[in-house]
Amino acid sequence: MTDEHPEIERLNEYLDQGLDPRDHRPLETHLSRCEECRRTLEELSAIVHAASELPEVAPPERIWESIAASLIERKSLSRRSSRWRSALLPALAAAAALFVGVSLWLVLRTGEAPTAADPEALAYMVTEELKAAESHYDKAIVGLEQIIAQNDGVLPQELASVLNQNLDLIENAIGESRTAIATEPQSTAAQESLLQALRSKVTLLQNTILLINEVRKGQGDNALDLIDEMRKTPVPNAPSNPI
């Protein structure tokens, strides 16, 4: 009996230290002689060990946002105060149903929605973070445009023309995005477009300055290295992503 291979259940028990101590000795003797059973035991042990090391998994942030949105909706629905029974309520419900993003955090922080009875109030809050990102970009753009304005006429006409046309294109994109945000403040597609367009504008302005620099160098103009000036212009590196 002792030399017969034990049932795997016995090995499992043994692994859990749940086997009757009197049975240990015979089992261990068998194991010392039987490679197959030893391997089985090792495998079971490895599984247990590996399982204990399986990691937790951080969920995507949007899940919390959805949860928070639902909770706000419930909260607002349960309130008796009349000021909540305003146009703001459907807006909040709408926000709860969609991805809202960072804006929600503001609502959570303040604890309650503003008392203004119009949906625009929510729209305002929703774009707080976006406005912060926007203002960073706007500052950078102003700085870069200044450098370019100071070097008016340096670039050949044709080139300046191409660059201006493309800048206009980007301006249109910025305008369209802003309009879209005004009509649908919760739309992440609109917010993303705006940030992307602003990024494109900054990139194009930077490239323009590089070209101006090259032309000036070509003209033997070593007076001002525009690259240094450009570097001093703070440009947002990792814009906050509403998602």
């Binding site: 259940e9 079971l44 599984i47 204990s52 937790e56 930077q206 990792a238």
Partner: protein
């Protein structure tokens, strides 16, 4: 012409999921008892209406719950929905949570049962293995290496009950008594389910 000038571009930095935590909470204590007390405190504050406290609970426990949901449901989409449902339900039921057990245990119990309900309502057969979750775990298997990946896959082959028992006991670390209470089964049954799971896993891994 001058030497080339590197174009300085505003590059968009995006993390793997493209998100970052909105705020930071103090990390949970390493000491188990202290952690429980902190949870208890957060539950109290949540009951008083503090949303921040509930978010803190979410931050502390969602990785574990999400891991459980992923491994139980073997489907990322379902796991995400499930995570949301679990926490919403947890929020709903908090008033009735008496604090006899630890919050984490209570939450796990809720989670595993919801997952089992989900699996059973669909029918184990319909729960097809079209979406193995290896990608999800591939970035995180550190000490375990390939073995961990294989194990993740193999867990998907376990039938629901043994899968649940195995995950609760060996991954989450509950003893058989706790597992029994959570699943509504006897201690011996829990042990038997876990052993069966291990045996099955061994077979699957040996293929």
């Amino acid at each position: 012409m001058g030497s080339p000038v590197a174009v300085i571009e505003a590059k968009r930095a995006k993390g793997a999921m493209g998100e970052e935590q909105l705020s930071s909470f103090p990390p949970p204590s390493l000491d188990r008892d202290a952690k429980r007390r902190e949870d208890h405190d957060l539950v109290e504050r949540t009951r008083r209406g503090e949303m921040e406290a509930f978010e803190a609970l979410y931050r502390r426990h969602s990785p574990a719950v999400f891991g459980l949901a992923l491994r139980m449901l073997q489907n990322r989409a379902d796991a995400e929905d499930m995570l949301q449902e679990i926490f919403l339900q947890a929020h709903d039921r908090l008033p009735s949570f008496e604090g006899r057990s630890a919050f984490g245990t209570w939450l796990y119990r809720l989670s595993v049962n919801r997952c089992l309900d989900h699996l059973r309502s669909r029918g184990a057969k319909e729960q097809s293995r079209t979406e193995p979750l290896t990608y999800e775990f591939s970035g995180r298997v550190s000490t375990v290496g390939l073995r961990g990946l294989e194990l993740e896959r193999a867990i998907g082959e376990l039938p629901p009950s043994s899968r649940a028992a195995f995950l609760l006991h060996h991954v989450a670390g509950f003893d058989h008594k706790e597992v029994g209470e959570m699943l509504g089964i006897a201690v011996g049954t829990s042990k038997s389910l876990v052993h069966r799971a291990r045996t099955r896993l061994k077979e699957v891994l040996a293929r």
